[in-house]
């Protein structure tokens, strides 16, 4: 079953040149979270995730860690690792034998932070405390306790910095719980100011059965009573039974303790009554902004989510900015399985398959500064670019499609309110396109976006000769296993004639006159079009994404119009998204 964020309108929260990318990304994050995706990493925009050698990949221990109190024998080891090539082995034998990080970098004053530690501690009775040490004043955040046969576990804590530029550290302090001496293995340590998971979530009923839809447009909670102050906030919810109920909805009024939702549809729309839904109440004014006058810590924030899909594929969606009016964009990097990544950067390791194989790693602008101009040598990856900051104050309209088990994500951000704007769509999509006789499930994984940004061009525009600014042209797909990892891939369109005519360029496109239908067909993709270095060309159609190619309608007057009795929504350039048919789209 498909699930949507269906035309959720969000305004930008200010900042010069804000194109609402950050606000949109925030809503996307929480929708996927209530849909069962797991947060496995976040970053703010500061370098190195505030640890030095939090990934434990530096060979020398002293690069990031100091043994205290007579502690010896702490080493980096390849025998145990969570991600990457090695972890840190910590084996205290006496009191005070503690580990201390190098000074934490670029922490802001008077700010809340989250810390994640991955540890393998399997000796009963051997524990260590996680300490935040600010200017010599320790605060115990929690305890990593030994637990037999527990494997790698994640420990999450939070702390707040005080005022001033003072030394700040993380310490691991041995706790004698009477057990045998045994090593702790520690890996994947990262600290972040949370712009997503722990930010603006006013009510959190994820993983519960608390929420209800009451027809036509009310959302009710068993445990929570909505109040007037909730007006203007958003509810993200997931309904695994009723098509079209899942989504992100703005609260427009309160009705006897229930939230009245903006259903963003014409006519007399109504939700299907439903009970037992997970949900979150979101204050989108807290969302990170991507804008000129906003510091890096906010405008370069991002996250990595792991899909509930059986392949546990991972998607990193991180805000980015480069100076000049239109350079606000999201960078989407995916791995078709639960591949290892560097917690200090969010980059997948090179030995994993990922978008990076074809389009490179997330980076900042010229000279490594987001405050500088866009630099293709640094600003790499696949983007949702499209609508930039041309119309500050007009916000975004968010569309997202996914399915029950998170096999794919299709995101479209529609900028502004005037459908005649040329640069209106930011479009990125990724996931499993469907196994067939010639492609394993993993080989069917593909991602599309744009790979270059020079000015605010519509990602859905197939006309440009600058092919890297067109989402359908710019993609990657898992190659033949053993031959290569991710290869270049493109969507294909129909061409006719010896020169330039194609169905996309038809000046007189119309529905099939014999049945009135728009002759929609599944999108066909090709991998390794020219038989490049990996030499694993293939073709297949995308199945299960609710995505169709077909008649190119009038891109000025017919965009976002109903097709086939509301079953599909015409987006642009002959691209159609399946929609829940009970809602009449707003134009």
């Amino acid at each position: 079953m498909l699930h949507w964020i269906r035309d959720c309108a969000v305004s930008n929260n200010g900042g010069t040149g804000n194109g609402s990318k950050g606000e949109s990304n925030y809503l996307i994050y929480h929708f996927l979270r209530v849909g069962g995706w797991e947060q496995i990493w976040e970053c703010d925009g500061e370098d190195d995730n505030h640890f030095v050698d939090g990934s434990m990949e530096a060979d020398a221990l002293t690069a990031g860690w100091t043994q205290l109190g007579g502690l010896t024998g702490t080493v980096k080891t390849t025998n145990e690792k969570h991600m990457g090539n090695q972890s840190m082995s910590y084996q205290p034998t006496g009191p005070g034998e503690n580990l201390r990080s190098a000074g934490l970098t670029t922490l802001q004053e008077s700010t809340d932070y989250q810390i994640s530690i991955w540890a393998k501690a399997e000796e009963i009775g051997e524990d260590f405390d996680v300490i935040f040490d600010e200017n010599g004043v320790p605060t115990t955040l929690g305890t990593v306790n030994g637990l037999a046969a527990s494997g790698w576990r994640r420990f999450d804590y939070s702390f707040s910095t005080g005022a001033g530029v003072v030394p700040r550290f993380v310490r691991f302090d041995r706790v004698d719980a009477g057990g045998p001496v045994g090593p702790f293995f520690i890996d994947s340590c990262f600290i972040y100011e949370s712009w997503f998971e722990y930010n603006g979530v006013d009510q959190d009923y994820i993983g519960t059965t608390d929420g209800d839809f009451v027809a036509p447009d009310l959302f009710d909670s068993t445990a929570y009573t909505f109040v007037a102050g909730d007006i203007g906030k958003y509810i993200a919810t997931w309904d695994g039974v009723n098509v079209g109920n899942s989504g992100v909805y703005k609260i427009i009024a309160i009705d006897t303790g229930r939230a009245q939702l903006d259903l963003r549809a014409g006519g007399s729309p109504a939700m299907t009554p439903s009970n037992g839904l997970p949900w979150r109440l979101l204050d989108v004014t807290a969302a990170p902004r991507v804008a000129d006058s906003v510091p890096d810590t906010e405008r370069l924030a991002g996250y990595m989510l792991e899909s509930p899909h059986s392949e546990s594929w991972r998607m990193c969606l991180r805000n980015n900015f480069a100076a000049s009016a239109d350079q606000t964009f999201l960078v989407m990097t995916c791995c078709p399985y639960d591949g290892d990544f560097d917690v200090e950067s969010g980059h997948f390791y090179d030995y994993e398959a990922s978008t990076q194989d074809v389009f490179g790693k997330y980076g900042k602008g010229l000279n490594g500064n987001a405050s500088d101009t866009f630099d293709p040598a640094n600003n790499k990856g696949l983007f949702l670019r499209g609508y930039g900051a041309n119309n500050p104050g007009s916000g975004s309209r968010v569309y997202l499609m996914t399915d029950d088990d998170g096999s794919f994500v299709n995101i479209l951000l529609r900028g502004g309110a005037a459908q005649t704007d040329e640069d209106i769509t930011s479009w990125g999509l990724a996931g499993f396109t469907g196994a067939d006789a010639y492609h394993t499930l993993r080989e069917s994984f593909a991602q599309f976006g744009v790979a270059y940004a020079s000015s605010a061009l519509d990602d859905m525009d197939f006309k440009t000769s600058q092919h890297y600014t067109s989402t359908p042209y710019c993609g990657c797909q898992v190659g033949t296993v053993g031959v290569g990892w991710m290869n270049e891939a493109q969507m294909m369109v129909l061409g006719v004639g010896a020169t330039s005519v194609s169905e996309k360029g038809y000046s007189n496109p119309r529905p099939n006159p014999f049945d009135g239908n728009d002759w929609l067909r599944r999108v066909k993709i090709c991998r390794d079009y020219t038989g490049g270095a990996t030499n694993s060309p293939s073709e297949k159609v995308i199945t299960g994404w609710g995505l169709r190619a077909g008649t190119r309608k009038n891109d000025t007057t017919e965009m976002f119009s109903d097709v086939d009795s509301g079953e599909y929504l015409y987006m642009r350039m002959g691209v159609y998204f399946k929609m829940p048919g009970q809602f009449t789209p707003l134009t």
């Binding site: 006789a437 010639y438 492609h439 197939f462 006309k463 440009t464 000769s465 092919h467 067109s470 359908p472 042209y473 033949t480 493109q490 969507m491 294909m492 369109v493 129909l494 061409g495 006719v496 004639g497 010896a498 020169t499 330039s500 005519v501 194609s502 169905e503 996309k504 360029g505 038809y506 000046s507 007189n508 496109p509 119309r510 529905p511 099939n512 006159p513 014999f514 049945d515 239908n517 002759w519 067909r521 066909k524 090709c526 390794d528 079009y529 020219t530 038989g531 490049g532 030499n535 060309p537 293939s538 073709e539 297949k540 077909g550 008649t551």
Partner: protein, 382 residues
């Protein structure tokens, strides 16, 4: 019922006159459609069709006894109890065998006349053994090279009755160097004559020898078409394809087309298929090719990519293109799929292709008539 194949049938009409070749085409096309079980709807009243200078021996079609017989044990041999075979008159000529069994039914060159009751057909026109059959009708002929047409003859054929299809094709003499081919998708030649635009097929008049090939789909085939392709001694293949699109919309009841060409079709060259639209107005429709979703002037189409030659783990690529109606007010839509097959450009011509097809020029593959089928010859030598 089954498909009808014709392979490498040579007709040398013995003359270099410019008045002959176009008429050879007309007569041979007529005969091939009849062998393919198409229905004769109309034709010029003329003695040429049955003139004894053209029909050298009639075995039960308009006269004579339908007693032609074949045996699987005697490959390439055809017998007639009533006799009449003559070495001097018939060797090198053509016999059309109107068998009931579709694997026997076809057209063959006579290699040798053994005696008055027995002939051998040329192995280049018949690869497989026979299926035992007797009491077949047929005729030995030389097309219309014995007694040529004048200049106005035509015929109209309709898809086999068993197909239930309305499609008719009208083929007529145009000039010494061309024929007209017109489709009547609604099958109304005798009444309203709702016609497609007429295709003109050019043929060489200063050469007098052709080798004929054809594939005529079984009446019950879902991919229904007739493809007739002939090689001349100027190294040109000339072809006519008549058929109906597949996967059309409900309500598109007459998706018939005609298409001619004197080169093997590149997917973007001379690809027009003449049809009619919902208003019974002629429109041109084109097999489309996939290309990367980039600038409209992307010419490096997928079906010419060497990398696409064997895709999906080494699979030789064969496909039936989507057909787009012309970019006019009367067109502008996807109509269906072509019923016959295309392949990637990068294969050697005439090679066996996936064991069930012959690769011809450019993107064209044709069905192979079983494992014993002979390579289509690009030679008119005897």
């Amino acid at each position: 019922m089954g498909d009808i194949h014709i392979r490498n049938v040579r007709l040398d009409d013995g003359g270099s006159s410019s008045t002959h070749i176009d008429r050879q085409f007309l007569w041979m096309l007529w005969e091939i459609f009849l062998l393919g079980r198409w229905q004769e709807i109309d034709k010029t009243v003329s003695t040429v069709w049955t003139d004894p200078a053209n029909v050298l021996l009639d075995k039960g079609i308009d006269s004579g006894t339908a007693d032609l017989a074949v045996l699987s044990a005697n490959s390439h041999q055809i017998t007639s109890a009533s006799g009449g075979f003559d070495a001097g008159l018939h060797e090198g000529k053509i016999i059309s065998l109107y068998a009931t069994d579709d694997s026997n039914r076809g057209m063959y060159n006579i290699r040798r006349v053994i005696d008055a009751n027995t002939i051998l057909v040329d192995v280049r026109t018949r690869g497989a053994t026979w299926v035992d059959e007797s009491s077949m009708s047929g005729r030995i002929h030389v097309g219309s090279s014995g007694a040529p047409f004048s200049s106005t003859e035509y015929f109209v054929m309709q898809a086999p009755a068993a197909s239930g299809r309305n499609l008719q094709v009208h083929i007529s003499h145009n000039s010494t160097t061309s024929l007209f081919v017109t489709g009547y998708p609604k099958g109304d030649w005798l009444t309203l004559k709702t016609a497609t635009t007429t295709e003109t097929i050019d043929i060489v008049y200063n050469g007098s020898i052709y080798r004929w090939n054809a594939f005529l789909a079984d009446a019950a085939a879902s991919e229904f078409y007739a493809h007739i392709y002939a090689y001349d001694n100027t190294d040109i293949w000339r072809r006519i394809i008549v058929g109906e699109l597949t996967d059309v919309a409900v309500g598109d009841t007459d998706p018939g087309f005609v298409h001619t060409n004197v080169v093997w079709s590149s997917l973007d060259d001379n690809g027009e298929h003449q049809m009619i639209n919902e208003f019974d107005v002629p429109i041109e429709c084109f097999p489309a090719f996939y290309k990367r979703a980039r600038a409209l002037d992307e010419e490096n189409k997928r079906e010419q990519q060497l990398a696409a030659r064997k895709i999906n783990g080494g699979l030789a690529k064969v496909f039936r293109p989507i057909v787009l109606a012309e970019d006019t007010a009367d067109g502008g839509f996807v109509r269906g799929n072509v019923p016959y097959e295309f392949c990637n450009y990068h294969y050697t011509d005439f090679d066996e292709f996936t064991s069930t097809r012959w690769k011809m020029g450019q993107h064209v593959v044709v069905p192979r008539n079983g494992a014993d089928d002979i390579t289509p010859l690009s030679s008119t030598a005897a």
